[in-house]
Protein backbone atom coordinates (compact mmCIF):
# COMPACT_ATOMS: atom_id res chain seq x y z
CA UNK A 1 0.00 0.00 0.00
CA UNK A 2 2.97 2.33 -0.25
CA UNK A 3 2.66 5.25 -2.66
CA UNK A 4 -0.48 6.46 -4.36
CA UNK A 5 0.12 5.37 -7.94
CA UNK A 6 -1.20 1.89 -8.75
CA UNK A 7 1.35 -0.58 -10.11
CA UNK A 8 0.96 -2.47 -13.36
CA UNK A 9 0.15 -5.58 -11.31
CA UNK A 10 -2.56 -3.65 -9.44
CA UNK A 11 -4.14 -2.58 -12.73
CA UNK A 12 -3.93 -6.02 -14.36
CA UNK A 13 -5.23 -7.81 -11.28
CA UNK A 14 -8.12 -5.36 -10.92
CA UNK A 15 -8.92 -5.57 -14.63
CA UNK A 16 -9.09 -9.38 -14.53
CA UNK A 17 -11.47 -9.18 -11.58
CA UNK A 18 -13.59 -6.38 -13.06
CA UNK A 19 -13.86 -7.72 -16.63
CA UNK A 20 -17.02 -9.85 -16.15
CA UNK A 21 -18.77 -6.92 -14.49
CA UNK A 22 -17.59 -4.50 -17.19
CA UNK A 23 -18.94 -6.77 -19.96
CA UNK A 24 -22.20 -7.22 -18.10
CA UNK A 25 -22.51 -3.45 -17.72
CA UNK A 26 -22.07 -2.97 -21.47
CA UNK A 27 -25.02 -5.30 -22.02
CA UNK A 28 -27.27 -3.69 -19.43
CA UNK A 29 -26.02 -0.09 -19.60
CA UNK A 30 -27.14 0.35 -23.22
CA UNK A 31 -30.82 -0.36 -22.49
CA UNK A 32 -30.59 1.80 -19.36
CA UNK A 33 -29.28 4.69 -21.48
CA UNK A 34 -32.03 4.10 -24.02
CA UNK A 35 -34.63 4.43 -21.25
CA UNK A 36 -32.95 7.58 -19.95
CA UNK A 37 -33.12 9.10 -23.43
CA UNK A 38 -36.90 8.56 -23.40
CA UNK A 39 -37.31 11.03 -20.51
CA UNK A 40 -35.09 13.64 -22.12
CA UNK A 41 -31.66 12.86 -20.67
CA UNK A 42 -28.79 14.08 -22.82
CA UNK A 43 -25.68 11.86 -23.15
CA UNK A 44 -23.87 14.28 -20.80
CA UNK A 45 -26.59 13.96 -18.15
CA UNK A 46 -26.42 10.16 -18.39
CA UNK A 47 -22.64 10.22 -18.15
CA UNK A 48 -22.58 12.50 -15.09
CA UNK A 49 -25.28 10.47 -13.32
CA UNK A 50 -23.59 7.15 -14.12
CA UNK A 51 -20.11 8.30 -13.07
CA UNK A 52 -21.23 9.70 -9.71
CA UNK A 53 -24.56 8.22 -8.62
CA UNK A 54 -23.69 4.88 -10.31
CA UNK A 55 -26.68 2.70 -9.54
CA UNK A 56 -28.22 0.29 -12.03
CA UNK A 57 -31.42 -0.20 -10.07
CA UNK A 58 -31.72 3.52 -9.36
CA UNK A 59 -31.06 4.57 -12.94
CA UNK A 60 -33.64 2.14 -14.29
CA UNK A 61 -36.18 3.35 -11.74
CA UNK A 62 -35.84 7.05 -12.59
CA UNK A 63 -37.12 6.89 -16.21
CA UNK A 64 -39.64 4.13 -15.37
CA UNK A 65 -41.26 6.17 -12.60
CA UNK A 66 -41.05 9.44 -14.53
CA UNK A 67 -42.72 7.89 -17.59
CA UNK A 68 -45.41 6.47 -15.27
CA UNK A 69 -46.18 10.02 -14.13
CA UNK A 70 -44.74 9.82 -10.61
CA UNK A 71 -44.00 13.20 -9.01
CA UNK A 72 -40.37 14.23 -8.55
CA UNK A 73 -40.38 13.83 -4.74
CA UNK A 74 -41.76 10.31 -5.11
CA UNK A 75 -39.00 9.36 -7.56
CA UNK A 76 -36.33 10.76 -5.22
CA UNK A 77 -37.77 8.97 -2.15
CA UNK A 78 -38.19 5.63 -3.91
CA UNK A 79 -34.75 5.64 -5.53
CA UNK A 80 -33.10 6.67 -2.26
CA UNK A 81 -34.96 3.97 -0.34
CA UNK A 82 -33.95 1.26 -2.80
CA UNK A 83 -30.31 2.26 -2.43
CA UNK A 84 -30.25 2.01 1.36
CA UNK A 85 -28.90 -1.53 0.88
CA UNK A 86 -25.54 0.12 0.11
CA UNK A 87 -25.18 0.64 3.87
CA UNK A 88 -24.75 -3.10 4.32
CA UNK A 89 -21.98 -3.23 1.72
CA UNK A 90 -20.15 -0.34 3.32
CA UNK A 91 -20.36 -1.99 6.75
CA UNK A 92 -19.14 -5.32 5.38
CA UNK A 93 -15.97 -3.69 3.98
CA UNK A 94 -15.06 -1.86 7.20
CA UNK A 95 -12.73 -4.59 8.59
CA UNK A 96 -10.59 -4.39 5.43
CA UNK A 97 -10.18 -0.61 5.60
CA UNK A 98 -9.01 -0.16 9.19
CA UNK A 99 -5.51 1.00 8.16
CA UNK A 100 -6.47 2.77 4.96
CA UNK A 101 -6.18 6.54 4.43
CA UNK A 102 -9.40 8.57 4.60
CA UNK A 103 -9.28 9.72 0.93
CA UNK A 104 -8.86 6.14 -0.34
CA UNK A 105 -11.59 4.89 2.02
CA UNK A 106 -13.89 7.69 0.82
CA UNK A 107 -13.29 7.12 -2.89
CA UNK A 108 -13.70 3.39 -2.47
CA UNK A 109 -16.92 3.56 -0.47
CA UNK A 110 -18.36 6.28 -2.72
CA UNK A 111 -17.87 4.14 -5.82
CA UNK A 112 -18.86 0.65 -4.67
CA UNK A 113 -22.10 -0.96 -5.82
CA UNK A 114 -23.75 -4.39 -5.95
CA UNK A 115 -21.47 -6.07 -8.48
CA UNK A 116 -18.13 -4.59 -7.40
CA UNK A 117 -19.10 -5.34 -3.78
CA UNK A 118 -19.38 -9.01 -4.65
CA UNK A 119 -16.18 -9.15 -6.67
CA UNK A 120 -14.01 -7.28 -4.17
CA UNK A 121 -15.36 -8.93 -1.03
CA UNK A 122 -14.68 -12.36 -2.51
CA UNK A 123 -11.16 -11.20 -3.38
CA UNK A 124 -10.53 -9.84 0.13
CA UNK A 125 -11.52 -13.24 1.55
CA UNK A 126 -9.73 -15.51 -0.95
CA UNK A 127 -6.75 -13.50 -2.28
CA UNK A 128 -4.05 -12.40 0.17
CA UNK A 129 -2.56 -10.07 -2.44
CA UNK A 130 -5.84 -8.15 -2.79
CA UNK A 131 -5.64 -4.57 -1.52
CA UNK A 132 -8.07 -1.66 -1.04
CA UNK A 133 -6.31 0.08 -3.92
CA UNK A 134 -7.10 -2.82 -6.27
CA UNK A 135 -10.66 -2.83 -4.97
CA UNK A 136 -10.92 0.89 -5.81
CA UNK A 137 -9.62 0.17 -9.32
CA UNK A 138 -12.33 -2.49 -9.76
CA UNK A 139 -14.90 0.13 -8.78
CA UNK A 140 -13.51 2.73 -11.19
CA UNK A 141 -13.21 0.32 -14.12
CA UNK A 142 -16.75 -0.99 -13.55
CA UNK A 143 -18.10 2.53 -13.15
CA UNK A 144 -16.41 3.70 -16.35
CA UNK A 145 -17.87 0.78 -18.29
CA UNK A 146 -21.30 1.60 -16.87
CA UNK A 147 -20.87 5.30 -17.71
CA UNK A 148 -19.78 4.65 -21.29
CA UNK A 149 -22.58 2.14 -21.93
CA UNK A 150 -25.20 4.52 -20.52
CA UNK A 151 -23.87 7.45 -22.54
CA UNK A 152 -23.84 5.46 -25.78
CA UNK A 153 -27.31 4.12 -24.99
CA UNK A 154 -28.65 7.63 -24.48
CA UNK A 155 -26.98 8.88 -27.68
CA UNK A 156 -28.30 6.08 -29.89
CA UNK A 157 -31.46 5.40 -27.88
CA UNK A 158 -34.02 6.26 -30.52
CA UNK A 159 -32.60 3.76 -33.06
CA UNK A 160 -31.75 0.80 -30.80
CA UNK A 161 -34.11 -1.73 -29.24
CA UNK A 162 -32.41 -4.37 -27.07
CA UNK A 163 -34.35 -7.07 -25.18
CA UNK A 164 -33.99 -5.66 -21.66
CA UNK A 165 -35.15 -8.81 -19.84
CA UNK A 166 -32.44 -10.91 -21.50
CA UNK A 167 -29.57 -8.43 -21.12
CA UNK A 168 -30.44 -7.66 -17.49
CA UNK A 169 -30.27 -11.37 -16.70
CA UNK A 170 -26.48 -11.08 -17.11
CA UNK A 171 -26.42 -9.22 -13.78
CA UNK A 172 -28.75 -11.75 -12.15
CA UNK A 173 -26.42 -14.52 -13.33
CA UNK A 174 -23.44 -12.74 -11.77
CA UNK A 175 -25.31 -12.50 -8.45
CA UNK A 176 -26.19 -16.22 -8.67
CA UNK A 177 -22.53 -17.07 -9.28
CA UNK A 178 -21.43 -14.96 -6.30
CA UNK A 179 -24.12 -16.56 -4.14
CA UNK A 180 -23.01 -20.07 -5.13
CA UNK A 181 -19.46 -19.10 -4.11
CA UNK A 182 -20.51 -18.49 -0.49
CA UNK A 183 -19.50 -21.07 2.15
CA UNK A 184 -21.82 -24.08 2.22
CA UNK A 185 -23.09 -24.63 5.76
CA UNK A 186 -26.31 -24.60 7.78
CA UNK A 187 -26.01 -20.97 8.79
CA UNK A 188 -25.63 -19.88 5.16
CA UNK A 189 -28.66 -21.99 4.24
CA UNK A 190 -30.72 -20.22 6.92
CA UNK A 191 -29.46 -16.80 5.83
CA UNK A 192 -30.20 -17.45 2.15
CA UNK A 193 -33.61 -19.01 2.83
CA UNK A 194 -34.78 -16.17 5.06
CA UNK A 195 -33.40 -13.48 2.74
CA UNK A 196 -35.32 -15.06 -0.16
CA UNK A 197 -38.47 -15.29 1.92
CA UNK A 198 -38.00 -11.72 3.15
CA UNK A 199 -37.87 -10.36 -0.39
CA UNK A 200 -40.94 -12.38 -1.35
CA UNK A 201 -42.92 -11.12 1.65
CA UNK A 202 -41.89 -7.51 0.96
CA UNK A 203 -43.10 -7.81 -2.62
CA UNK A 204 -46.36 -9.44 -1.58
CA UNK A 205 -47.17 -6.59 0.82
CA UNK A 206 -46.24 -3.89 -1.71
CA UNK A 207 -42.79 -3.01 -0.33
CA UNK A 208 -40.86 -3.76 -3.52
CA UNK A 209 -38.64 -0.70 -3.12
CA UNK A 210 -36.81 -1.71 0.08
CA UNK A 211 -37.23 -5.46 -0.54
CA UNK A 212 -33.49 -6.05 -0.99
CA UNK A 213 -32.56 -4.20 2.21
CA UNK A 214 -35.29 -5.79 4.32
CA UNK A 215 -34.66 -9.25 2.86
CA UNK A 216 -30.92 -9.04 3.47
CA UNK A 217 -31.39 -7.71 7.02
CA UNK A 218 -33.87 -10.50 7.79
CA UNK A 219 -31.31 -13.02 6.50
CA UNK A 220 -28.52 -11.61 8.70
CA UNK A 221 -30.74 -11.52 11.79
CA UNK A 222 -31.96 -15.08 11.17
CA UNK A 223 -28.36 -16.24 10.73
CA UNK A 224 -27.33 -14.61 14.01
CA UNK A 225 -30.29 -16.13 15.87
CA UNK A 226 -29.42 -19.53 14.42
CA UNK A 227 -25.79 -19.18 15.52
CA UNK A 228 -26.81 -18.14 19.03
CA UNK A 229 -29.29 -21.02 19.25
CA UNK A 230 -26.49 -23.41 18.32
CA UNK A 231 -24.38 -21.91 21.11
CA UNK A 232 -21.72 -20.41 18.82
Amino acid sequence: MSGTVPTKEDILSAFRAALPVMLGYLAIGLPCGIMESKVGFSPLMSFVLSMTFYSGAGQFMIPSMWLAGSPLYSVIASVSFVNTRQMLYSAAFSPYFSDVSRPLAFFFSATVTDESFGVSLEKFVTDEAWTPRRALLVNLMSMTSWGVANTVGTAVGPVLNLPLAVTSFAMTSIFVCLLVGQPLNRTTAVVVGVAFAGVLVCKLVGLAGPAILFGALAGVVAGMVFEVARGR
Binding site: P20, I76, M87, L88, S90, S94, V194
Partner: protein
Protein backbone atom coordinates in the same frame (compact mmCIF):
# COMPACT_ATOMS: atom_id res chain seq x y z
CA UNK B 1 -37.67 16.03 -17.63
CA UNK B 2 -36.39 19.60 -17.52
CA UNK B 3 -32.85 20.54 -16.57
CA UNK B 4 -34.01 21.94 -13.22
CA UNK B 5 -35.95 18.72 -12.46
CA UNK B 6 -32.82 16.76 -13.30
CA UNK B 7 -30.66 18.99 -11.08
CA UNK B 8 -32.96 18.53 -8.06
CA UNK B 9 -33.18 14.78 -8.67
CA UNK B 10 -29.44 14.42 -9.18
CA UNK B 11 -28.36 16.33 -6.08
CA UNK B 12 -30.95 14.57 -3.89
CA UNK B 13 -30.26 10.99 -4.92
CA UNK B 14 -26.49 11.54 -4.99
CA UNK B 15 -26.51 12.94 -1.44
CA UNK B 16 -28.47 10.00 -0.02
CA UNK B 17 -26.39 7.53 -2.00
CA UNK B 18 -23.09 8.95 -0.72
CA UNK B 19 -24.42 8.92 2.84
CA UNK B 20 -25.44 5.25 2.55
CA UNK B 21 -22.16 4.28 0.89
CA UNK B 22 -19.70 6.17 3.06
CA UNK B 23 -21.06 6.65 6.59
CA UNK B 24 -21.10 2.98 7.77
CA UNK B 25 -17.52 2.38 6.62
CA UNK B 26 -16.23 5.52 8.33
CA UNK B 27 -18.19 4.81 11.52
CA UNK B 28 -16.89 1.22 11.79
CA UNK B 29 -13.42 1.71 10.24
CA UNK B 30 -10.52 1.18 12.64
CA UNK B 31 -12.73 0.17 15.58
CA UNK B 32 -12.31 -2.97 17.61
CA UNK B 33 -15.43 -4.85 16.56
CA UNK B 34 -17.17 -7.24 18.92
CA UNK B 35 -17.20 -10.91 17.89
CA UNK B 36 -20.97 -10.77 17.39
CA UNK B 37 -20.73 -7.76 15.08
CA UNK B 38 -17.90 -9.41 13.15
CA UNK B 39 -20.05 -12.51 12.83
CA UNK B 40 -22.99 -10.43 11.59
CA UNK B 41 -20.82 -8.61 9.03
CA UNK B 42 -19.66 -12.00 7.74
CA UNK B 43 -23.26 -12.97 7.01
CA UNK B 44 -23.96 -9.88 4.91
CA UNK B 45 -22.58 -11.22 1.58
CA UNK B 46 -24.75 -14.35 1.54
CA UNK B 47 -27.79 -12.37 2.67
CA UNK B 48 -27.18 -9.58 0.14
CA UNK B 49 -26.62 -11.90 -2.82
CA UNK B 50 -29.66 -14.00 -1.91
CA UNK B 51 -31.79 -10.85 -1.64
CA UNK B 52 -30.45 -9.48 -4.95
CA UNK B 53 -31.16 -12.78 -6.75
CA UNK B 54 -34.60 -13.07 -5.15
CA UNK B 55 -35.44 -9.50 -6.11
CA UNK B 56 -34.55 -10.26 -9.74
CA UNK B 57 -36.36 -13.57 -10.11
CA UNK B 58 -39.32 -13.42 -7.72
CA UNK B 59 -42.36 -11.65 -9.13
CA UNK B 60 -45.69 -12.36 -7.41
CA UNK B 61 -47.59 -10.41 -10.07
CA UNK B 62 -46.01 -12.48 -12.86
CA UNK B 63 -46.98 -15.69 -11.03
CA UNK B 64 -50.54 -14.44 -10.78
CA UNK B 65 -50.82 -13.73 -14.50
CA UNK B 66 -48.66 -16.44 -16.09
CA UNK B 67 -47.09 -18.95 -13.67
CA UNK B 68 -45.23 -20.86 -16.37
CA UNK B 69 -43.63 -17.70 -17.78
CA UNK B 70 -42.78 -16.62 -14.21
CA UNK B 71 -40.71 -19.80 -13.80
CA UNK B 72 -38.33 -18.79 -16.62
CA UNK B 73 -35.93 -16.81 -14.37
CA UNK B 74 -35.93 -19.66 -11.83
CA UNK B 75 -35.10 -22.22 -14.51
CA UNK B 76 -32.41 -20.00 -16.04
CA UNK B 77 -30.94 -19.43 -12.56
CA UNK B 78 -30.81 -23.19 -12.00
CA UNK B 79 -28.74 -23.50 -15.18
CA UNK B 80 -26.44 -20.74 -13.90
CA UNK B 81 -26.01 -22.56 -10.56
CA UNK B 82 -24.69 -25.60 -12.45
CA UNK B 83 -22.27 -23.44 -14.46
CA UNK B 84 -21.17 -21.59 -11.31
CA UNK B 85 -20.41 -24.84 -9.49
CA UNK B 86 -18.54 -26.26 -12.50
CA UNK B 87 -16.54 -23.18 -13.52
CA UNK B 88 -16.83 -20.49 -10.83
CA UNK B 89 -16.56 -18.03 -13.73
CA UNK B 90 -18.62 -14.82 -13.66
CA UNK B 91 -18.27 -14.38 -17.42
CA UNK B 92 -19.48 -17.91 -18.24
CA UNK B 93 -22.34 -17.51 -15.81
CA UNK B 94 -23.42 -14.22 -17.43
CA UNK B 95 -23.20 -15.64 -20.98
CA UNK B 96 -24.94 -18.94 -20.19
CA UNK B 97 -27.52 -17.15 -18.05
CA UNK B 98 -28.52 -14.78 -20.85
CA UNK B 99 -28.60 -17.63 -23.39
CA UNK B 100 -30.69 -19.85 -21.10
CA UNK B 101 -33.11 -17.00 -20.35
CA UNK B 102 -33.50 -16.16 -24.06
CA UNK B 103 -34.01 -19.80 -25.06
CA UNK B 104 -36.50 -20.49 -22.28
CA UNK B 105 -38.44 -17.33 -23.13
CA UNK B 106 -38.68 -18.48 -26.76
CA UNK B 107 -39.66 -22.06 -25.88
CA UNK B 108 -42.24 -21.29 -23.18
Amino acid sequence: MTLSDFAILYVSVLATMLACRCIPLFVLKGRELSPRLTQALGLIPAAAFAALVANDIVSPSAFATNPVQAMVPFAASAVVVVVARKTGSLIWCAIVGMAAYALLTMVI
